[in-house]
């Protein structure tokens, strides 16, 4: 197998406002199976970061263990990276984020990493509203260990060997909404048109942004009877609302017919426009979003798009009222403000 990717790129690749082309956002060539959905998600991350003109060296990529968690090697080579212990990505992300809030945090996890071994970590990161984009590459199986059913496999979904999953599924998107997450979306690796704007909106969101991306495992879970195969997801995908991401520098150029679009302001002047508004629920209303997901589970639909958002969310730093500067940039006089200040502090306790 050739693991050599030519270094030539298209000579007329467009550049973003930093002067970078997509090449500057790429990583090493993937060692995942050919056709793995995860590679498409990596491609979407590259596209989203390039379009948003994020400086690659100001991103921290964190992941756990699994096929999904290998992917940070395959995008943003110039970003910081931390490959943690299985299921422990949220803790490390929390520590890193607390120590340096000036970076963009991108957590990548899988269904095994988040819905089984790391479930405890996952729920607490949500609860704290840690400012991180949490991308779950969800293939419903343990691809790295021969494809056993994972906790996100649907009841009745058939594995490659023909056996049906008998256990109840954990729907992490519903769970995230239930636990108070402030940005929850679901998408499909085979639909970059939807996925890229969602990743951009998630990156701009000031709080915990959860993206559950159904990502078929071509080797172990792309068979007939699987509910996470390319063809099944395409047939049952109910793309609810499409969104447009509008950075602060741009004005909304497309006029949407009245009552069908909704404009939401995110942090830093970014906007998103929800068009083709879902009729069945209101993405700003937690209860209606949960209802819709429950309904979909009953009918076997896969609802994709922005499921729920709370644009005015307060992230962990705001809750804890932490210092703005990264900890490693604090000087001695910031850390030891002197006896006068100490006196003041002591006084405040009296």
């Amino acid at each position: 197998m050739t693991y050599l990717r030519p270094t030539f790129r298209h000579p007329e690749l467009p550049t973003n406002i930093l002067g970078f082309t997509r090449k500057d956002y790429e990583g090493a060539i993937s060692t995942l199976c050919a056709g793995c959905g995860h590679d498409s998600i990596s491609g979407a991350i590259v596209q989203a970061c390039w379009e948003m003109s994020i400086e690659p060296h100001k991103v921290a990529k964190l992941s756990g263990i699994g096929c999904s968690s290998k992917t940070p090697t395959y995008f943003l080579s110039n970003a910081h990276g931390f490959n943690t212990v299985h299921g422990r990505m949220p803790s490390v992300a929390t520590g890193a984020n607390m120590a340096n809030r000036s970076l963009t945090y991108l957590g990548v996890s899988g269904d095994g990493d988040s819905a089984s071994i790391g479930m405890g970590q996952f729920v607490h990161a949500i609860r704290r509203n840690l400012n991180v984009v949490y991308i779950l590459m969800n293939n419903g199986c343990y691809g790295l260990t021969k494809g056993q059913d994972s906790a996100t496999a649907d009841v009745g979904s058939k594995s490659k060997s023909g056996s049906e999953n008998k256990f109840a599924t954990i729907d992490l998107a519903s769970l995230a909404i239930e636990l108070g997450a402030t940005f929850v979306a679901r998408s499909f690796s085979g639909d970059k048109e939807q996925l890229v704007p969602l990743i951009k909106a998630a990156l701009a969101h000031g709080g915990f942004a959860f993206l559950d991306v159904v990502s078929p495992c071509v080797t172990f879970n792309n068979n007939f009877g699987s509910t996470k195969s390319y063809s099944y997801v395409r047939e049952h995908n109910h793309a609810a609302s499409n969104i447009d991401f509008v950075p602060p520098a741009e004005t909304i150029s497309v006029n949407y017919p009245e009552n069908t679009a909704r404009e939401l302001e995110l942090h830093g002047g970014n906007k998103i426009v929800l068009h083709k508004l879902p009729t069945e629920w209101d993405p700003l209303d937690r209860i209606s979003a949960l209802n819709r997901l429950h309904q979909a589970r009953r009918t076997g639909e896969i609802v994709t798009g922005l499921l729920f958002i709370e644009p005015e969310s307060q992230d962990l730093h705001a809750t804890l009222d932490t210092v703005q500067e990264p900890l490693n940039q604090l000087q001695e006089k910031d850390l030891c403000p002197g006896s006068k200040k100490l006196e003041q502090i002591n006084k405040s306790y009296r």
């Binding site: 197998m1 030519p6 056709g35 590679d39 498409s40 990596s42 078929p216």
Partner: protein, 598 residues
Amino acid sequence: MKPTDIQDPEYFHKVVDCQYACPAHTPVPEYIRLIAAGKYTEAYLINWESNVFPGVLGRTCDRPCEPACRRGRVEEEPVAICRLKRVAADFKDDISHILPKGPFPSNGKKIALIGGGPASLTVARDLAPLGYEIHLYDDQPAGGGMMRSQIPAFRLPEEVLNEEVNYILDMGIHTQFKTFVSSMKEILDKKYDAVFVGTGAPKGNDLDKLPGRWDDPDKIHIGITWLASVAFEHTDKIGKKVIVLGGGNTAMDCCRTARRVGGEDVRVVVRSPFNEMKASPWEIEDAQMEDIPILNNHNPKAFVTSEGKLQGMLFEKVEAIYDKNGKRRLEPTGEEVFIAADEVLVAIGQGNAFPWVERDLGLEFNQWELPKLNATTLQSTRPDVFFGGDAALGPKNVITAVAQGHQAAISIDLFCNGRDVHDRPPPMTNLAQQKMGLHEWIYDSAVVPDLRYKVPHADKKLTLKNRKKEVELGFDLEKAYREAERCLNCDVQTVFSEPKCIECDACVDVCPTSCISFVTNGAEEDLRTRLVAPANQLDQDLYVSSVLPTKRVMVKDENVCLHCGLCAERCPTAAWDMQKYLYNTTKAAPIWKQEEVV
């Protein structure tokens, strides 16, 4: 757009840009791979079948393939295709036992070839194995035409030319050298079944109206005539100060030859701006390397003589002015320049001349005194007379002459068998899988940056002393291998099969040059704007699939595809496959079966 019809033999042919640009459509990547594999004889034979003079062309070809080379789109310079051809010629084994050998069983037909240059020799090679009795007439003492008389020996050694001319003459061609054909009627009276005219463009343009032209005529020479007299050793010296007029390849050959036969202060003087000179860039470079200055924007005004002796030339300086449509006009600046010279070589173009063809033979000529021809069949208005090479449609180059020779041979064969000459045989094509293992291909798919290798030159001190000493030394085997590895194997096609595609996007993500997109269909102009990367090269096709399950189509911009095979390697269902496309223009006689050689 409509789905691309890959059954059309021209579609994939066009993707192999070098081969498509070559007038003879030599399968370039095929022989370059053989060179990389050390199979020089096989590489030579592929060339010989297609372009008849690989050793000659490997040194002197105009290389229309190289500007077309895809490598030149992602890196500064194209693959040195021409000089790799020479490698095949230089390092091949003895091939005489492989070539078709006469005597061939006669088919009872007689053909006359007028002129012994590349076009005529190609016709001879293509028709002799079919049993035609071939009579070749030429006024020179040996075959080769302009390859012998106009290309100097320091660019093309006589042994190389002789070898390749003799491969053909040894097939039993009846040669009548030193025979100047002065009457077409005489030839036609000999009752040949067909006559082929390959007399080249023997008339060099002159400045016969320029003042002073006839005051010292012995010191003013027509370029191609002078080159021929040097080649045939009628001339072996020239004055110390020489002016060469003209900016084409003949001018470059004249100035470099002049440097070798006594010219010390040789200057090339051109009317046009430097960057519009007709000569190939590498020939200009070689001339400059031999200390020959090129003065541009100089319009000749007069030959200056004193007491009947040439003193030099007077030029007026001009400036190129371009109008809105980019059309050039040379505007005099008013400044005049005198350049001293002992002799002047006039190399300002050449043309055909047919004073020897009587006008009452049923052969019609057009307003420029060129024969009226069908450009495909090369048949004249007199059905048994065919033309080829510079004599046919105006001066071009050796490789065009060869290509026309092949076509004329097909026409002659059809005509002699009473068949319609417009019913041309289709090309031979073959599409072969390259899969060897899970992710292994028969061809070397890895693409790495590597700049073009320079061909070493012999020491100037030696080459300027000896007119026959070849300047270019050719690649050694190590350099040849490296240069061959620069080839992107554009003939290994990316073949897409819609029913297998699951639209996982793996190919889109991995393609290094962003060639592949999955989008909703549209008109071509619209599609070109909606792809992953801009597709602004309009002469490069879009490969469009039929509609896929998501109502989108796959669109591949062929422009900068590196043929690295990654799309096929990353495709989980083998909807992409790498398949080698062999395209061979059909010749009058099958020289051999390709598979017997390769």
